[in-house]
Structures are given as structure tokens and as C-alpha cells.
């Protein structure tokens, strides 16, 4: 992993698990995969051993640190899982998606699971229940039971939608950690939970021992793959909806994607879907009849598109159609790259880039001529694109011209997709890192004021509970001067913007990851 990626990982860990855990991860990031004694030697002066163990335990439970036993030395080696760490940045999107699909309680339950890393369903319901009790100490037994019931059914819905999965606890066997936990047929089947027992434990406030519950060893975690598949589908669908704007009913594509990729979500090409099935499903949708009348025309237009995302596999029964997700994801990525180039260097640069991409290897003169960009500008832009790693440059021998002096070379330009994706990822890592760093700097600037505000809020809550007079409350409120309030407001706005900026950057990063997932096997390894 690149240095930029490691720096970002360190910040993410710090933000999520706190500074002490970050410093443990920093050792692993700097030294690479290491045995525990290396971590201990580096950290012992600044942290007690138990705290180091605790930090590692948390990291392992969240799959951010992997471990395996070195077969020669017998030592356990710990290493940071960069991919999982970067995924933490994407959690707000998973939560928003879960909320959209399962409702706000779905989000709440999912957040709880993520915070625990791995948790049994009983414990999950127990934690959610204790939260209810904390926020509303006067809650009645009946209401609490209802709430527990709601959490259980929500967990069931999350499992049915495959958003959560039974995960085997982390083990030194690396292969096991890499395996798809959702592959087993029962991996999304919720165990039976006795809510009455849980209610009893909750009401006895000091009763926190949950190890005796029957499902205590069945641990659940978030099933990222499902979120990735659904986010991918929705990004691809939205992009295609824009592309075929008002020309066809985009729901036709949605059906082919959903039905074709239902079983095997990560196949390059979905299973063939018959026109009849598409028609059937469309007819059941609002205003579907108008579309189903011309269903073959809708499909034909997508089929004729130069992107070639839909292929007709047979002509029987109106035809069978398969959606090529690999191509769609590639198109999405190239469109992203196009947008970045246009934004950074203008539309002539985009023209040059796409021309080079379509040409394979091409000389500067040809770029100027076909691109119809004035010579000087074309040259300038071509080199800017090279500088930004969007295109590559290569010296080749001019052996094909008979009258050229021997040894004469010429410069050709070409596009190396693996390099572009890597450099795009680096840009994303750096942009996300800068945004997070800025957020940290802004937070530090306002630290004294935040502490003051927190203190005042606490006092105000206490006073309100004691039914103090409004005048007294106002007096306390005014301890925070208008300029101080202004500063706090500005900080809130900035930190919100910085956070949504990071989520936006991650959107681009996500597409590069998807692209690598489909093309990764064909890519040469980074030197």
C-alpha cells in the first residue's frame, strides 16, 4: 500500500477508535506486518501493555488488523488491513442506504452492530434496549418489550436483506478471514432470541452477563459485500438513467440488472433474463403498461448503444438479455475520469485524452490533426495529461520509415488504465486525508471553546432539571458571547462540509475499487 493510503488509514483509525489505538496502528503501518514484541517495544514507553493489548483486540474485532502465525518462527504476525480501514470512511453511506431500505430503526441497529464489530443478536437487542432506558429512564416494561420486539424484527429484516451476516470470529488462519461469510446458506438466518429473558436482564440494571444466552457464540457483523453490490447497482442505474434520459424507460435496465444478478451478484455478466419476465415485471410497476407495449424497442435501443452493456443471447420467446456489469462499471469509471480531466484541464484536454485512449499508441502530430486542437495548445495539454498520469509516454524506434536515419526514435502516447486507476486512488486518498486533517486542525482551533460550550450545556441541563428561573438560565447562556457563538456555528458548518466532502471523495474511490474488483486479476501488480 502507498504511503498516502497508510496516512489516511492512520487518521481514520484515530477518528474512529481514538488516539491510543491510532498510535498502535501507526507502528504497524510504519513497520509493516510485525510480531507483537515489535509493537510492544515501540509503544511500551508511552502506553501500558494492557492498553496495547486492548487496542489490538479492538482492531482485530473490527477486522482492521489481521493476524497470522508465521510458520517458521511460530510468532503471531499482525498487519493492518488497509481495505477494511478505508471502508470505515464509507459507513455513513451504508447507514443511509440501510435507512432508505429498512427505515431509521434499521440504521440505528446497523450502527450498533458496526460499533461493536461483532456481536450476538441477543447482545445487540440488549444494547439497543439499554439505550432506550438511558434516554428514557421512565419507560414502562410494556413499552420496553415492544421496543425490543422492534429491534428484533428490524434485525431480522436487516438479515433478510443480507445487510448483516454471521461472521466467524477472526482467526490466525488468513484464508478464513478472506472467505465470504455470506456464502453459507444459513449465514443470514437469525437465531431464536427469548425477549422475555432479555427484558428481565435489562430491568435488573446490574445484570450485564450475557454469555449464558444460547446465541452468545453466534456473532454477527455488517455484510459489506451486499452494500457494495446495492450501491454499485444504484450508481450504475442512475448513470444509465441519465444516459438514456427520456428516450427509454430506464426501469427496463433495472429489471435486467436485478433479476440477472440476483443469484451471483459479482459475475461479470448477469444471467440471461427473458423478455417475457422483463415485460411481466414492468407491467406490475406504475405506468408499466405503456412501457411493456414497446418492450422490445426499449431493449433494442439499449442493445444498440455503443457501450454494449446489454447483449441478446437468443431470439427465442422474444429474446434473452444479459447485462454486462463489468462493462458498465468500466464506463462509469471512464466517465468519472472524463469529468476530472475536463474540470482540471478543460474540454480540449478531454478530447486529447479520449483520442489517445481510442488510438492505442499515437504520436503528437496525429493528436493535433485528429483532435483539431492548435498545435501548441495540444502539446501543452498532452504534457499536462502526462504530468497528471492520465496518459503515458513512450519512446519507440522509428524502424518503419525507410529513409529515417538509424536509431531515430519518436514519442508516442498511450493510456494505461491500471496506472490511471492507481493514480486516481492516490488522489482520492490524498484529498480525503487533507479533508480529515483540515477537520482535525479546525477542531483543535475551537477546542477551548467547545469545552466551554459543553460545560455550559451541562450546567443548563442541570438547571432546567432543577426548574431554575428563565433569567438565571439566560445568564448562563450569555456566558457564551455572540462572537463565540458565531465561531462555533462556523465550525459546525465547516466540519459538516468537510465530512460530506470526504463522503463525496469516497464515492469516486468506491468506483475505482469496483473497477479493480472486475479487472484486478488482469492487472499487473504495482512495482
Amino acid at each position: 500500500m502507498s504511503m498516502q493510503c497508510s496516512k489516511l488509514c492512520s487518521l481514520i483509525i484515530g477518528e474512529t477508535f481514538g488516539m491510543p489505538v491510532q498510535s498502535v496502528v501507526d507502528v504497524l503501518l510504519q513497520k509493516g506486518p510485525s510480531p507483537l514484541r515489535h509493537v510492544l517495544t515501540s509503544m511500551m514507553k508511552s502506553m501500558p501493555i494492557e492498553a496495547i493489548h486492548g487496542a489490538l483486540k479492538t482492531l482485530i474485532q473490527h477486522f482492521v488488523v489481521n493476524f497470522h502465525v508465521n510458520s517458521t518462527t511460530g510468532e503471531t504476525i499482525y498487519s493492518v488491513n488497509h481495505e477494511k480501514t478505508i471502508e470505515i470512511m464509507r459507513y455513513p453511506r451504508y447507514y443511509a442506504h440501510a435507512e432508505q431500505m429498512v427505515g431509521p430503526v434499521g440504521r440505528e441497529v446497523l450502527e450498533e452492530i458496526v460499533q461493536s464489530g461483532l456481536v450476538s443478536i441477543s447482545k445487540l437487542i440488549y444494547i439497543c434496549g439499554s439505550r432506550v432506558m438511558k434516554s428514557n429512564p421512565d419507560v414502562t416494561e410494556a413499552v420496553l418489550f415492544e421496543q425490543l420486539n422492534l429491534f428484533q424484527t428490524t434485525a431480522m429484516r436487516l438479515a433478510a436483506k443480507k445487510y448483516i451476516v454471521i461472521v466467524p470470529p477472526p482467526s490466525p488462519d488468513n484464508e478464513n478471514n478472506e472467505a465470504d461469510p455470506g456464502a453459507h446458506k444459513d449465514s443470514h438466518k437469525l437465531p431464536a432470541v427469548d425477549l422475555k429473558v432479555l427484558l428481565g436482564k435489562l430491568l435488573k440494571t446490574n445484570e450485564t452477563k450475557l454469555e449464558s444466552l444460547p446465541d452468545a457464540n453466534i456473532l454477527w457483523g455488517i455484510y459489506i459485500q451486499q452494500f457494495h453490490a446495492e450501491l454499485r447497482n444504484s450508481m450504475v442505474y442512475q448513470a444509465l438513467e441519465r444516459k438514456f434520459k427520456s428516450m427509454i424507460d430506464p426501469r427496463v435496465i433495472q429489471v435486467v440488472i436485478e433479476v440477472g444478478l440476483e443469484r451471483h451478484q459479482w459475475e461479470d455478466e448477469g444471467a440471461p433474463v427473458s423478455m417475457h419476465e422483463i415485460k411481466d415485471r414492468i407491467e406490475k410497476m406504475p405506468d408499466g403498461l405503456a412501457t411493456s407495449k414497446h418492450i422490445s424497442e426499449h431493449l433494442e435501443i439499449v442493445e444498440d448503444d455503443p457501450m454494449r452493456i446489454l447483449s441478446r443471447l437468443s431470439n427465442q420467446l422474444g429474446g434473452h438479455f444479459a447485462f454486462n456489469m463489468k462493462t458498465a462499471v468500466s464506463e462509469l469509471l471512464w466517465n468519472i475520469i472524463d469529468k476530472i480531466i475536463t474540470e482540471k484541464h478543460g474540454f480540449h484536454a478531454l478530447r486529447i485524452f479520449r483520442l489517445v485512449k481510442a488510438s492505442g499508441f499515437v504520436e503528437q502530430d496525429t493528436i493535433n490533426e485528429i483532435g483539431m486542437v492548435p498545435g501548441k495548445e495540444a502539446k501543452h495539454l498532452t504534457y499536462k495529461l502526462v504530468d497528471d498520469h492520465f496518459i503515458n509516454i513512450k519512446e519507440v524506434k522509428k524502424t518503419y520509415t525507410t529513409n529515417a536515419p538509424p536509431g531515430k526514435t519518436c514519442t508516442v502516447f498511450y493510456v494505461d488504465s491500471s496506472q490511471i486507476v492507481r493514480s486516481l486512488q492516490e488522489y482520492c486518498y490524498k484529498a480525503a486525508y487533507n479533508l480529515k486533517l483540515k477537520s482535525k486542525i479546525e477542531q483543535a482551533k475551537i477546542k477551548r471553546l467547545s469545552v466551554k460550550e459543553e460545560r455550559i450545556t451541562r450546567i443548563l441541563v442541570n438547571m432546567t432539571n432543577k426548574n431554575c428561573a428563565e433569567d438565571q438560565l439566560n445568564e448562563i447562556r450569555e456566558l457564551l458571547t455572540p462572537p463565540e457563538r458565531g465561531l462555533l456555528l462556523r465550525y459546525q458548518f465547516s466540519s459538516g462540509k468537510l465530512l460530506s466532502g470526504t463522503i463525496q471523495v469516497d464515492e469516486t474511490l468506491f468506483v475505482t475499487e469496483l473497477y479493480l474488483k472486475y479487472h484486478g486479476k488482469n492487472f499487473p501488480k504495482k512495482k
Binding site: 466517465n335 478531454l350 478530447r351 490533426e369 485528429i370 463522503i503 471523495v505 464515492e507
Partner: protein, 326 residues
Amino acid sequence: MTDATTISPKEVGHGEVAGGSSIAPDAGMSPFEQRIIQLAKEFPKGIPGKILQNDMPTTVSADERAIVINKLLAQGILDIYKQGNELLYKLKGGKSSEPDQIKDADNEEKVVFDIIKEASNMGIWIRDIRLASNLTLSQLNKIVKSLETKKLIKAVKSVAASKKKVYMLYGLDPHRSLTGGAWYSDQDFESEFVTILNQQCFKYLSDKRQQAQANVDDVGPKAKMAIALTTLDDLWKYICNLGISKVELTPEDITSILNTLIFDGKVEKIRKGDLEYYLAAEPMLETTGLIQVPCGVCPVIKDCSERGLVNPGSCLYMNNWLSSEF
């Protein structure tokens, strides 16, 4: 109309001679020119203008005749004399392909002349003449200069490399690849002209797409698409009728413009069987997350580091972005 073929990037630049007329004496001449030369042979002392006039079919106007005669004069095939009040046209030397001056020239000049002649209207670079003639550079420079003064050859600058001069016979029209065709005037690339054509072509296609999109009749997507799709021929006619070009544009010129639009991501080529259509493309994305934040489009991102002079803490781009819309 010619076939609506698109120039794929690799084909362009190695195309056929287009527009330029490589005139090898005796071959490739128009029937008028051949007739004039024949007449000149019949009248070795010179053809009187009157005879020339009477001999030509009535469909040939005086202007057209003048153009052909001027061309033959320029090529050194004909010579013009005045006898009394009458003009006489006479074949130069006896052999129309060799101007008089070269006959009197020395052998080296003849060799260089022949090499240049062989290059026809593509022209030849001085270095290649040297390789082919085995002359020293100073000798060659002298010869080339002398041929230029005698108006036997001329130097032409290529649009591809403005510093590279090529030599060709004086009377030839340089090949399109040297002049750049419709997109060049006096070796200068007419960037605005290309931009205007690019915009006009796109506007036409985009208007058609919008027309199709706005169609709310229940006609089915195929009929809608038929409104949006455009053939090269239609587009070519539309552009010609706009009258925005001083030069006559060929369908190939429009294909070149369409190719720029395809590279711009604004137009797509749709193939239906053997037919090709053009369609204004809708972008798949309005924007992307990375470019929504200042670092995504930052020109100095490479120099930006936590402890450097350019850093996120004091970054102006970042601060401006954070204070916008507050």
C-alpha cells in the same frame, strides 16, 4: 455523395490525395488542357487566341478558358507571345514536361529538379534531397536557391511542422496534408472555424435529441430515436446550407468534426446494420465526488503536504471553499 465513412484515428494523415491536383504533364490533364496542347502542336509557331477561342466548345466560358491557359502558363507548358495586336500561345521547348530553363541548367540542377519532381505535390525535405542526390549541403543550397530564382521550384511550409520546408515544382498545388485542407489558411490552423463547426454540428444533433425527448406521443422509443438519429449526409447538407464556411466542405470534413465531438464525449455513433447514425450523447454523470472538493481539482496537490509551505491548514482553496455558502 460519397460513402459516409468515418476516419478512424489511425487512418487519418495517411489518406489519399484530396483537393490538391498533382499534374504530371501528359497525364491527368483535363480534356481542355489536352486539346490546347494538341492545338499548340498543330501550330508550332503559336496558336492565335482567336483559333483557340473558336476551337473550344461553346459551353466553355471565356473565364474557364482563361483559367486553363493560365494554369498551363504557370506550369511552364505554354508560353505567350505578342504578334502585332494578337496573342500567340506556343508550346515551350518541344517537350511540354520540361521547362526551358531546366534544359539550359547544369547536370546537378537537373538531378535535383528530377528528385523534386518525383516528390510531386507532397514535396520533399532538403535532407532527403541531399540523401538522394549525394550532394553536399552547401552545393545543394546553392542549386535549390537557383531553381527557386528561376521559378522552377518553390518551398512550401508544412502545417504539421511549421519549421519544416518542403520543395516541389513551382506550378503544383501542395497536398492537403501540407496545407491542412479546409482547416488551414496560410498554414495557420483556423481554430475558431473548427470550434464554430463543432458547436454547430453539436447544436443540430442536440436540438434533434431534445425534440425527440420532448415528444410525448405514445409512439414508442424507436420512433423517438428516429427523430434523434442523424446521418452524415443530413448533417453535411445542414452545415453547407448554413453558409458559415468560405471553403467548400466535404462530407469527410464533417466526419472529422464529428470525430472531435465523439472524442469530446458529446456525440455517439450508432451502427444499425451497415448504416451509421450520429446521436447527441447525454453524459452518464453530472459530476463526480472527487471534483466537488478543492483537493480534487487542485493544481498544486503534488506540492501539498502536512508540514510544507502548501498545506491543508493554511490552504486558501480550502478556506474559500469552507466559507462559501456559509
